[in-house]
């Protein structure tokens, strides 16, 4: 920056020589203000999404910068929500970027008083073993009259109303094939 441009950048100079003699507007505009842009304009990508809270199904636009969610706001194209969001929907960015989110597997041994860490794949393997053991222990082939039952009542599940259709489909398909009848979700509550 040359001395001249430095001098011209001085607010008092701008005030005395420009259109804003009282220095309350154009002359007072700071470098920071001049450099302001909407971060939605500088996002790397935008995903068309849907609010995860209630079942109205408001459209959301998810703006991403450097692999991080930088803004979530209503999708003005949506005939359902016309770009609007309630406080919960408006808090979606805070929801998905919350520092309280758990991002590692936590494991509590029987009779333990604390959590410990566990590898994800190990956890998956342990869960698979426990499912097979529960089936082994509680499997029912037939009822007292010899009619087929093909099931275990040793395994339960609750949840699905906040999940995707594709996820519920796989859950139902897998549990049914496992003979695990007792799956439920919020629709029962």
């Amino acid at each position: 920056m040359g001395v001249r441009s430095w001098f011209e950048g001085w607010p008092v100079y701008r005030q005395l020589t420009g259109t804003d003699p009282l220095g309350r507007g154009a002359a007072a505009k700071s470098d920071g203000s001049r450099a302001l842009t909407a971060r939605t304009d500088t996002a790397d990508s935008v995903a068309r999404s849907v609010c995860p809270y209630c079942a109205v199904g408001c459209g959301q636009r998810v703006f991403v910068k450097d692999g991080q969610v930088s803004q979530i706001e209503g999708d003005p194209d949506s005939p359902i929500s016309r770009g609007r969001l309630c406080p919960k929907g408006s808090a979606s960015k805070s929801l998905v970027t919350s520092p309280l989110r758990q991002t590692t597997v936590r494991y509590r041994r029987p009779y333990s008083t604390q959590w410990e860490g566990l590898e994800l794949d190990t956890a998956l393997d342990m869960i698979a073993d426990r499912i097979l053991a529960a089936r082994e222990q509680t499997w029912e082939d037939v009822d007292t009259q010899g009619r087929p039952l093909n099931r275990t009542l040793g395994i339960s599940s609750l949840g699905g109303a906040t999940l995707d259709n594709e996820e519920n489909y796989l859950i139902k398909k897998l549990f049914t094939a496992m003979g695990a009848l007792q799956i439920e979700n919020q629709a029962r509550i």
Partner: protein, 864 residues
């Protein structure tokens, strides 16, 4: 609606701007009441009395939309002379069996169809929550019925309805609900004046309506009004359920529910459905009219989607692999079984029963008695930490060192970290694009269950056991991508849509389903969502570029139809009822149905079509039968079968009520599902003694600022700060009576629990004069628990477990309690306080009072 669904409420405000009048009925004055034209405070649990009053008002003044009612509903149908009404049975219909506490429905049938209700097993239907399947495919009813279109026959539905609701007078509404006659009449007048050819009225409920021991009948009463007024299948009409979770509709359509398979096919019952044929016939009801006649194609296609090449016509498409129901396997039965040590492992998938389910203590004690628990969530929720931080740890009921439950907490991917579809409350599927990768170990459920299935199959690969065939033969070959091997959600959606097994071509509609194994369909009502190999749910044509129906935004089941039964938007001849309400109509020149929406009718079946005698399935549906899923093509004012607690809605008091039922000797729903378990109890209600120990009515619901059990709001700073503490709303009158001060503490006691809350004294709660006495109601938000940025006691801890008989949903919108100033005791003293209340109220945990409360104990109504 403004409170829990603010953005949906913009359309109410829009309607209001155009002159619509908005009535709001709620026990407490909410943000909806604030902008409604009229607010009617109601005693919680008395909606059938209010709506029944509207039915009577319509019938008494002959304000029904007569042409619609005669042509499109079963008003003219003659009912069996064996039927007797609650008017004659002091609250009981004919056919009650006091042994099982359920009805044999034969006498409810249409004349000439007695004995065909197929309801020899109503206790079993109750245990299998059969109402949920009847919801879509209707119960069995003969196609050919006797009708009196003058509506004069004493046994026609219209006259039965009239007699049934005769006592639901404005005086009775006032006496039962605490709503003044003036306000009631204002509502009834506005509703009827705004219905007919030129106008439609809409009924909107939030699903708190389902959380009653008579929840299904609440909605039935609303449906009766809307049918009588001609508001069904028409724009601006209908009964709209505002559901509270992003895809709770989807999780019912593609059910993670014990009693259903995708597309509302029932899970087989061990005694009723030993073979594929028996299972299919129980759905399609041979001889019956309507689209369920194709049930075999839907069933075979589902089994084909599950078991692929292994499923052949010769082996009944592996029907034998399906697990069988033997009774009630619902979530509350499961929890009691956990307490009894019968359940080994439990998955919680984005659900927090320690806070969100009724009887929180039972939930937490159940979870503390498992071998293992898998919690998949975004946050460390109460259901994962009950062994460490739960209230039972403070009382000594759960000791961490003695609690054997092994807990796996697996972090879940958020809605922006995975792709897939939500089905919103109007049956609209909307595809979400993935924005970012999930952090750390967080994964989608799609990832978790796909890889869990893969591991199970690997571990069982050499198993010779027959029970493992269903897993090993399962089609489980979804393509994966990315560093985490994420399965393709689009591939799953394509399977849900269905495809031609030979060519792999995605099907474009469920009419293409075949029963011979040539089609595979994961959920037949979703067929078309992937028509032409295009993800139709991902369509995002701007609302500015299409008409108000917006048919090119997302995809609605079935067949991208936005209003169900929209044939009813035209008159019997196929012309719009009025220009103003034009929606779907018959184009005589082109000989086809047309309109703004996809017609809910066979496209080229003319209004004049009449089925041949004995025709069944779709052929049995006449050209002026709009309700194409019903066995007689008619909208049911009267349900001859399928609704387990009666063909007509009847006001019963809530299971816990300070009031003796003013209408009948029968106090509460006699068919409700009760659990006699040591952990469960019911506070006494009249005619039992000691009801005064719990003199106040409490109800719970949502705040705008929070979401359900709080896992997605009490953890989020800009929401947590807006409603930072558990509170109870009380009227100034009750505050004075009990000695509560604004912002001071109160504690509430039921037979199950005691919780504490800060007090908000407000005129938004008002005492009601009910049956000659003052009833105080208090209101609590149910969002709070012991984890998160803001914490508090859980309102749902106060509830016991009593369920609606049709769908096994708990009564958790009304109960009785005592309210006391100050904080609750802590530690073991808390248990002593509850025990003291139980003793004073004469409660013996594990026992419940008799369901029948008429003087003659229901004996006269028992035989059938």
């Amino acid at each position: 609606m403004a409170e829990a669904h603010p953005v949906g409420f913009q359309w109410v405000m829009e309607a209001k701007r155009r002159g619509a009048k908005v009535f709001h009925v709620d026990p407490r004055f909410t943000r909806t009441s604030a902008v409604a034209d009229a607010y009617l405070p109601i005693r919680a649990g008395t909606d059938i009395a209010l709506l029944g009053g509207v039915v009577r008002y319509i019938l008494d003044n002959e304000l029904d939309f007569r042409e619609y009612v005669v042509a499109y509903t079963n008003a003219a149908t003659i009912v069996s002379e064996e039927f007797s009404d609650t008017e004659d049975g002091d609250g009981f219909f004919s056919g009650f069996d006091p042994e099982t506490g359920t009805y044999v429905q034969d006498s409810w049938q249409y004349e000439g169809h007695e004995g065909s209700s197929g309801s020899g097993h109503t206790a079993q239907e109750r245990d299998s929550a059969a109402g949920l399947t009847h919801e879509s495919h209707g119960a069995q009813v003969g196609g050919q019925t006797r009708r009196d279109e003058t509506l004069q026959h004493p046994r026609c539905v219209y006259q039965i309805l009239k007699r049934h609701f005769a006592r639901y007078t404005p005086e009775m509404v006032e006496r039962v609900c605490g709503i003044s006659q003036e306000k009631f009449l204002e509502l009834a007048r506005a509703w009827t004046e705004n219905s007919g050819r030129d106008r439609t009225g809409m009924l909107v409920y939030s699903v708190g309506w389902t959380q009653h021991s008579v929840g299904v009948q609440y909605i039935r009463t609303g449906a009766i009004i809307q049918l009588l007024l001609g508001n069904m299948g028409r724009p601006g009409g209908g009964v709209m359920a505002l559901r509270g979770h992003a895809s709770i509709q989807g999780s019912t359509d593609i059910p993670t529910l014990f009693n259903l398979l995708p597309g509302y096919l029932p899970m087989p019952h061990h005694a009723e459905h030993p073979t594929l044929d028996e299972w299919v016939d129980s759905i399609r009801h041979p001889g019956q009219k309507g689209f369920w006649g194709n049930a075999r194609s839907f069933a075979a296609s589902l089994l084909k989607a599950y078991w692929g090449d292994a499923a052949t016509p010769e082996n009944d498409f592996c029907y034998g692999y399906l697990p069988r129901m033997t009774g009630d396997h619902g979530t509350y039965q499961q929890v009691l079984n956990m307490i009894d040590g019968k359940i080994k492992g439990y998955f919680l998938l984005g659900q927090n029963p320690a806070v969100g389910s009724a009887h929180g203590r039972a939930q937490r004690l159940g979870m503390a008695n498992l071998d293992w628990l898998v919690v998949r969530d975004l946050f460390m929720i109460e259901s994962a930490t009950f062994w460490q931080n739960g209230p039972e740890v403070a009382t000594g009921e759960i000791v961490p060192e003695e609690c054997r439950t092994e807990v796996f907490f697996l972090p879940a991917a958020s809605h922006v970290e995975k792709e897939g579809t939500f089905t919103q409350t109007q049956r609209l599927l909307q595809w979400r694009e993935k924005a970012v990768e999930p952090p750390g170990d967080a994964r989608s459920e799609l990832w978790f269950f796909y890889h869990l299935g893969r591991k199970l199959r690997e571990k069982l690969a050499d198993s010779p056991l027959p029970r493992d065939r269903a897993l090993l033969d399962l089609t489980w070959d979804y393509p994966t991508h990315g560093p985490q091997a994420e399965p393709s959600a689009e591939a799953v959606l394509r399977e849900i849509n269905g495809y031609d097994v030979t060519t792999g071509r995605p099907l474009s509609g469920f009419a293409e389903a075949r029963a011979d194994g040539s089609t595979a369909i994961g959920c037949w009502i979703y067929t078309g969502v992937y028509a032409d190999g295009v993800n139709q749910a991902a369509r995002r044509k701007s609302r500015h570029e299409q008409d108000w129906v917006a048919a090119e935004w997302g995809w609605a089941w079935p067949a991208n139809r936005r209003i169900l039964y929209n044939r009813a938007s035209a008159d019997p001849d196929g012309n719009p009822w009025s220009e103003r309400k034009r929606y779907v109509w018959w184009d005589a020149e082109k000989s086809e149905w047309t309109g703004y929406d996809v017609p809910d009718f066979e496209k080229t079946k003319p209004p004049s079509y009449r089925p041949a005698p004995g025709a069944s399935g779709t052929e049995g549906i006449a050209g002026d039968d709009p309700f194409v899923m019903q066995g007689d093509g008619k909208g049911w004012l009267y349900a001859p079968s399928g609704v387990l607690d009666g063909p007509l809605p009847t006001h019963y008091e809530p299971v816990e009520s300070p009031v003796r039922n003013p209408l009948y000797g029968q106090q509460a729903n006699p068919t409700r599902k009760m659990y006699a378990h040591p952990v469960n109890s019911v506070n006494p209600s009249p005619p039992q003694e000691h009801g005064q120990v719990f003199p106040y009515v409490f109800t719970v619901s949502r705040l705008t600022e929070h979401h359900t059990a709080g896992a997605m709001s009490r953890t989020v700073s800009p929401l947590a700060e807006l409603q930072p503490e558990m509170f109870v709303e009380v009227s100034p009158d009750l505050a004075a009576e009990v000695g509560l001060t604004h912002l001071g503490w109160a504690h509430l006691v039921s037979g199950r629990a005691v919780i504490e809350a800060k007090v908000l004294v407000t005129d938004r709660l008002t005492p009601l004069r009910v049956d000659g006495r003052i009833i105080h109601q208090v209101w609590l938000p149910y969002h709070f628990g012991f984890e998160g940025l803001v914490t508090g006691d859980s309102a749902n801890d106060l509830f016991g477990i009593s369920l609606d008989p049709n769908v096994l949903i708990q009564e958790s919108k009304v109960g009785t309690c005592d309210v006391r100033p100050g904080r609750r005791p802590t530690g073991p003293a808390l248990l002593d306080l509850v025990a003291d209340y139980q003793r004073r109220a004469g409660i013996t945990p594990g026992q419940h009072a008799p369901a029948v409360t008429t003087d003659d104990e229901g004996k006269e109504h028992g035989a059938s």
